[in-house]
Amino acid sequence: MRRLAALALCLGLAPFLAARPPEKPAAKTHDVPYRLTDTKHILVRAKMNGKGPFNLILDTGAPAVFVTKAVAKKAGVELDDKGWGTFGAFELEGGVKLDKVKTRVEDLVQIEGMNSMGLAGVELHGVVGYNVLAKFRIAYDFTADKLAFEELPGFDPPAPMKIDAKGGDDIQSMGPMLKMLAALTGLRPNFEVVPRGFVGVEAEEANGAVVVRKVLAGSPAAKAGFEAGDVIESVKAAEVTTNKALAAALAKAGTGTRLTFTVKRGGKAKELTVELGRGL
């Protein structure tokens, strides 16, 4: 009898488990900010071992994470004799966190070539490949400003197999040609980014004119004598009738730039000179 009960217990076990499958945790989705580079690569930012952020391209054409030697050094990655290492912590902007991510450390000719001429418009530090990308269901939609990385709980992507492919690295032979191209085109990169200068007015576009709605206290605009209700007519020589035109007139003006605005106040034109400040 006891045996029978034990048997029943054993038999009962399977259907019981089958009837109540383990509850699937809700798949977590991360909104990962990205930018398209000038070369139309999908750029995300990553911190590895807490260092960075570094600029990486999402590349399903790569079997793994690849980073430059300089990045590996900064992030303190130890390499094996075949040029592979592991990031203890790997984090993508937007909250994707992984541990023990294998990485190939190599100065790829594609990355070096683009950097030497500044083609991407931003310095590139490597690529994110299959070993990270396959862990998520990723939605790429360039009408949105974030990518959706949905976790795939319980899915362990099969590791890439080594394929015996002769000539797989021949593209690296283009290095010298790219260097020559860089020299001949005279393209030199400048990855430095500086903030635009700050005025300190809230404005609105109405009836073909840009009207100051509010002057922020203590801002460069306040010091220059702007008042709410002023109609911005021009900045230097550039006529302003739309928000877009106002932004364009200021687009290249860094901190410290002095700009003369012509505004209309009470029917009279008035010139106000602003020294653009720090801030946003």
């Binding site: 590349d59 021949d170 206290a217």
Partner: protein, 280 residues
């Protein structure tokens, strides 16, 4: 000699100038189309592709490819190249930029699709090891859709999203021609709206985030509860580890849109919502 070299290179490059035909946008009926992919042992994704109604051909689907690419074999077979067409550059059989009448993956079809003709050494090597692979499907194709990549189900899902990808070759050509040997000016990054605060970071400060140094009274930042002394960690989900990064994040938030701002204050993480205003 140098001039001759430059001429030769530029002449070669001219072959890569984009074709004039513009891709017909996909019908935006919004219906997602699911296409299976083959996960190769190298862990690349291979898809079956019809080109100009011929095929199917096996191509790599690659988010890291800014252009579509087909090899000379496919180009001849599908009538992309005519008999006797010579390579534009005597390297990797580069045949230059062409336009396909159509490119279809499963039920997803685009017409007038830009493509590069080239025997890419990596593709050739993979083809030799893994069976015929005749090219790469890249950005100009998948950017026209919300594209979801699922390695667990081995499926790609394409939903037309109205996005019109810019021609990367055109942009690169302009860049190549524009190099003058001078180092370009740093890029000025403009916030897309007014927030009303300033940030700073000392050279020796290697902690995450930047310091909020001033919050202007009556500004959107003040209304949201941002305070001077806060440590700004992210703005709209983007890391703000430098002043430049803060401006880059702010350049992507349009006026009137709610943006999450995460700061640490007295050792605690505080999440605020700022609605930046139109203005400068």
């Amino acid at each position: 000699m140098r001039a001759a070299c430059t001429l030769l290179l530029l002449a070669g490059l001219a072959a890569f100038a984009p074709a004039q035909d513009k891709t017909d946008p996909p019908k935006a009926d919004g219906k997602p189309v699911v296409v299976p992919f083959e996960l190769l042992s190298s862990r690349h994704m291979a898809v079956q592709v019809m080109v100009n109604g011929k095929g199917p051909y096996r191509l790599i689907f690659d988010t890291g490819a800014p252009t579509n690419l087909v090899n000379n074999r496919l180009a001849k077979d599908a009538g992309v190249l005519k008999k006797g067409d010579a390579p534009a550059l005597p390297l990797f059989g580069m045949g230059g930029a062409k336009t396909l009448d159509s490119l279809a993956i499963g039920g997803v079809k685009l017409e007038k699709v830009p493509v590069m003709v080239m025997d890419h050494p990596t593709v050739t090597a993979m083809s030799n090891a893994l069976g015929p692979i005749d090219g790469i499907v890249g950005f100009p194709f998948f950017a026209r859709y919300k594209t979801t990549v699922d390695y667990q189900k081995k499926e790609l899902t394409f939903t037309p999203n109205g996005y019109e990808p810019a021609d990367v070759m055109q942009a690169l050509m302009q860049k190549m021609m524009g190099g003058g040997g001078k180092k370009p000016e740093p890029r000025v990054v403009a916030p897309a709206a007014v927030w009303g605060f300033t940030v700073d970071k000392a050279e020796a400060d290697e902690e995450a985030g930047v310091k909020v140094t001033e919050v202007l009274a009556g500004s959107p930042a003040a209304a949201a509860g941002l305070k001077a002394g806060d440590r700004l960690l992210t703005l709209d989900g983007r890391w703000t580890d430098s002043v430049a990064d803060t401006f880059t994040a702010a350049s992507l938030v349009k006026p009137g849109r709610k943006a999450a701002v995460v700061v640490t204050r007295d050792g605690k993480e505080v999440r605020l919502t700022v609605v930046p205003a139109n203005g400068v």
